[in-house]
């Protein structure tokens, strides 16, 4: 095939994908950036006037934005480490040789295939203060019923619990694959060297898993910053904004309050922050990988 022919083929093959990506990803992103710097006219439903950083100034002045950011941060700080620790811990346990572990592994997949909104709904019922099974359960141990969605701290806990229920299995899956792929002879060498269960875990397994733990963290981080659906279904940001994560707040501002320009500015801020933090995490993950 001559050069032009090759170029035509390349265009033909890549073209459709490029058009779809452009339409579905690039256009919305750049449109959002445009809106964030403009006055948005609801009558014509378009950006009508360039206003520079005005929208950003408004957003940064809005205490509700900061409180949403704080809520998101709290959620991330609790949910991510919890899911990673639980995920690798459970993987470590079900990786030991015992009967029925295959079934348990299969059961662990269930939370991942349940739609997030459904998961939120199910947990709303489980955690219902009056007739939820959770309060009945803790009642068995003599605890008073808890108002899961009425108390700000408990509502955040509920969100973290639901998200953990949903995403820990994903971490378990990755961790199981990682554990199975570790070289067996290193563990045999450690066994001959006299390592007990604890030093095997602490001195051999964990250091070998560090790069994978770091990579899993980055993957989960990217999923977690998008947190929206569970909060929407379970608490709707309540009570009093205690679980109003940033994505829910942006959604509310845009489609309920119709403040598109300010929401676009928030979205751009979140996008930039996410990119910077993801970059830092990726560099960190690579550093860890080099060390171990």
């Amino acid at each position: 095939m001559d050069k032009t022919g090759r170029r035509d083929l390349a265009l033909g093959v890549h073209g459709p994908a490029a058009v779809i990506l452009g339409a579905m990803l690039a256009y919305p992103i750049f449109y959002t950036i445009e809106i964030s710097f403009s006055r948005f006219d609801l009558m014509t439903f378009s950006a009508v006037e360039w206003v520079g950083w005005d929208n950003y100034a408004h957003v940064l002045d809005d205490y509700r934005f900061w409180s949403s950011m704080k809520v998101t941060l709290i959620y991330l700080v609790f949910a991510l480490p919890l899911q990673i620790v639980l995920g690798f811990g459970i993987a470590f346990l079900i990786n030991a040789d015992w009967r029925g572990r295959g079934t348990v592994r299969a059961l662990f997949i269930i939370p991942m295939v349940v739609a997030p909104v459904v998961a939120g709904g199910i947990w709303r019922m489980i955690l219902d203060p009056l007739w939820g099974i959770m309060n009945w359960f803790i009642g068995l141990f003599g605890f008073a019923p808890l108002d899961w969605f009425g108390d700000p701290n408990l509502a955040m806990a509920a969100i973290v619990i639901i998200d953990t229920w949903r995403w820990t299995p994903f971490v378990v899956l990755i961790a199981t694959a990682a554990l199975l792929s570790l070289p067996r002879d290193i563990f045999e060498a450690a066994e001959i060297d006299g390592a007990n269960w604890w030093s095997m875990l602490w001195s051999i397994t964990l250091p070998l898993l560090v790069p994978i733990i770091a990579a899993t963290f980055v993957v989960r981080w990217l999923g977690a910053v998008k947190m929206f659906d569970i909060a929407l279904a379970a608490t709707y940001g309540g009570p009093g904004g205690a679980t109003n994560v940033i994505n829910l707040f942006i959604y509310e501002e845009a489609f309920r309050s119709l403040r598109f320009a300010e929401s676009a500015a928030m979205a751009v801020i979140v996008l930039a922050l996410t990119m910077v933090l993801t970059g830092i995490f990726l560099i960190g993950a690579r550093k860890l990988e080099e060390r171990y």
Binding site: D185, E188, A189, I192, D193, A195, N196, S203, I204
Partner: protein, 353 residues
């Protein structure tokens, strides 16, 4: 005491038995090589000595103690793995000291032992490097160092040189031998390479299909193989085999109707295989007629591949020869260099059998 006593040891995975009653006695300070093709059970046997595989039947004693139910770390053994199995996140010093740290030895003693091993193996300059910053030969030395610092009664090696290139393998082989002579520790060494086994070991155990075919000093195995398998396995280039039926007292009638006169009387019945090592065949004015097919000079010796009817035989001649492809030659061998085997059982035929 570094004796190892293996008594009628069996290994079965479920219904399938892979080692069928192996008995080997290893003396203190002896270097024993387990050799055989892949799947013969040599590695499994080694892993049973180490305690990494359960023993399905029989018993293994190290020193005076039966170790069937003793965990690996209490068997006073050290093992060197094929892929070295170094801890990738620890530097050389930490790798070598790991076992001692597990035993909670005082820091000063750990350092002293690691330094001593590093000195023996020439690793002093590399103590702060990670395994991935080392070459294959250096990693191999670290793996040995990790074994040495434990001052075990028995060293176990599982094909330790097979990941090295040919030149390094020869070099490490002599280092290993020197190390054994210096430390005098009982060593069990698994390899599929018969040259390695022959050059290193005081005694070679040839395994095949989960049984011991033959064991003995390397040259005994070479000079007097008890079976066709050992005869074919030991020696490079391999022994020539000619199979046929004995006719009269000293003639072997081959399947392609050639008859070969043997320089001794043979009383065997049934099918017989004659084995002659390439270096024991010589060119002569009379003898078995053959045609030269290939001549391969290496300088010190020349290997000739010749055809005898439908059979191909290899001849190793000291020095050089003027034989050319296509030449008609005659081959002879001395009676004491000819091995006779029963073709069906594969066992060596003794005089009068």
């Amino acid at each position: 005491m570094g004796t190892v006593e293996i008594r009628d040891v069996r290994k079965a995975y479920g219904q399938i038995e892979v080692i069928h009653g192996v008995s080997i006695d290893i003396a203190d300070g002896e270097f024993v090589a387990l050799v055989g093709p892949s799947g013969c059970g040599k590695s499994t046997l080694l892993r049973m000595i180490a305690g990494l595989e359960e023993i399905s039947g029989g018993q293994i004693a190290i020193g005076d103690r039966v170790v069937n139910d003793v965990v690996p770390k209490d068997r006073h053994i050290a093992m060197v793995f094929q892929n070295y199995a170094l801890y990738p996140h620890m530097n050389v010093r930490e790798n070598m000291g790991f076992a001692l740290r597990q035993r909670r030895l005082p820091r000063a003693e750990i350092d002293a032992r690691v330094m001593e091993a590093a000195r023996i193996l020439g690793l002093e300059q590399l103590l702060d490097r990670k395994p991935r910053q080392l070459s294959g030969g250096q990693r191999q030395r670290v793996a040995m160092g990790r074994a040495i610092v434990r001052q075990p009664n028995v060293f176990l090696f599982d094909e330790p040189l097979s990941n090295l290139d040919a030149k390094l393998r020869v070099q490490m082989r002599s280092e290993l031998k020197e190390l054994h002579q210096r430390l005098g520790v009982t060593t069990v060494y698994v390899t599929h390479d018969q040259i390695e086994a022959m050059t290193l070991a005081d005694r070679v155990v040839v395994m095949n299909g989960g049984i011991v075919e033959q064991m003995g000093p390397p040259l005994d195995l070479y000079d007097r193989p008890e079976s066709l398998f050992v005869a074919a396995f030991i020696g490079s280039p391999p022994m020539n085999f000619l199979e046929g039926v004995v006719e009269g007292a000293d003639t072997l009638l081959l399947d392609d109707a050639q008859s070969i006169a043997l320089p001794m009387s043979v009383s065997g019945k049934g099918r017989t295989t004659v084995g002659i090592r390439p270096e024991h065949l010589s060119l002569a004015a009379t003898g078995w007629p053959a045609t030269v097919a290939v001549v391969e000079p290496t300088g010190s010796e020349t290997q000739i591949t010749a055809r005898m009817g439908e059979h191909v035989v290899r001849v190793l001649v000291r020095g050089r020869t003027d034989a050319q492809p296509g030449d008609a030659i005659h081959l002879t061998a001395r009676a004491e260099d000819i091995h006779l085997f029963d073709s069906r059982s594969g066992r060596r035929r003794r005089p009068g059998e």
